[in-house]
């Protein structure tokens, strides 16, 4: 008799948990675009949607810095920086002319 009570208590807890968890998930989907459960998902093992980190570059005299950042608003991401070293992202300085 006692073990039946314990078993029923556990079973009731399972149903209550299923109901609570499912409601929480469905509510999160309709309100906050899944934001609530993501905190409970655990730690990320490998992220799939990370933007790739841009490589560091010196830019000096090179023509491959297009789209790689660095420089001022006028020159960033363009090849007009060729030979100037102005948009280096590796910490190197603009050469003195």
């Amino acid at each position: 008799m006692k073990s039946t009570t314990v078993h029923n208590l556990a079973l009731a807890a399972a149903f209550a948990g299923l109901l609570g968890g499912t409601s929480a998930r469905l509510n999160a989907q309709t309100t906050a675009q899944n934001s609530a459960p993501s905190a409970n998902a655990g730690l990320i093992l490998v992220a799939q949607n990370q933007a790739p980190a841009l490589p560091k570059h010196s830019c000096k005299g090179k023509n491959d810095c297009k789209g790689q950042g660095g420089g001022d608003a006028k020159h960033a991401g363009k090849n007009s920086c060729k030979g100037k070293g102005a948009c280096a992202t590796d910490g190197s300085k603009t050469p003195k002319v």
Binding site: A13, G20, G21, A41, Q48
Partner: protein
Amino acid sequence: MTLLEFQRRMAEDVSRPLTAGFMMQEVGPDGSSVAESVANYVKPNGRLSSFERLEIYNRQYWFRLIAAVSEDFPALNAMLGPKRFDELILNYLEENPSTSFNLRDLGAQLPSWLEDHPEFTGAHLDLAVDVARLEWAYIEAFDRAAMPPLDETDLAALQPTSVLALQPHLQLLALRYAAEKVVLAVHKNKPDVDIVSSAVIERKTSRQVRLPKPRRSLTYLVVHRYQNSVYYRRIDRGAFLLLSAIREGKPLAIVVDKAFCQSGLLPSARAKKIRQYFVHAAELGWLIANPA
């Protein structure tokens, strides 16, 4: 020699295992000279003999397979070092050759195979096996199916005799070490690169990573996919047993008893834990209706 005979002959020679030094074998399985038999159907040129020409294909075939498996086990690679890892993979592939058009499945048997081959891991066998199991769990979690999770209609029909199932992408692991620390350390140091060059860079960086040395302790993990990323979550033994019982297809009435079958917890504390386990599993969509 017909075209079919030629194709079969070349496939056999190209897929023959390499020597320990990663070169084409000079003696065939029947004891005959490979150089002589290859000369019957491969022309030499000004710089390379028939044997040398075919050796290029033989080596590339195996290097591609080795690279495919290596990409799936970067932490194991970092842990063992490239030389011992390459040797391990070569031996693994000799015993577990590719049987599918899909290279994705090539490393599936590696964790269990490794368990029977301590000669490749030295004193770190258990940790190496745990790392391999976690890395394979990542592959499974990444691309196994995601089914619609339980909804209100499913819940309304639930009985104590009902059987639930887990998401196909969800992986349950009982490890002897906190292997996730090793895997995370390697991935943290892995640069973001395009897919073509990833194998080369991965092997370079694997050697440079300073790996943690986790202590031996029973670790229960769920590895699962959530919003296109793979997560791992530590769970306690009760949750592991409960989720394992669901995966085994046990009805709910049995599942709740499995979680604490050898526990001294008070009934009220058990009930509280069981409720928490189900709240969490249902919230993350881990539970699905039984597909059977």
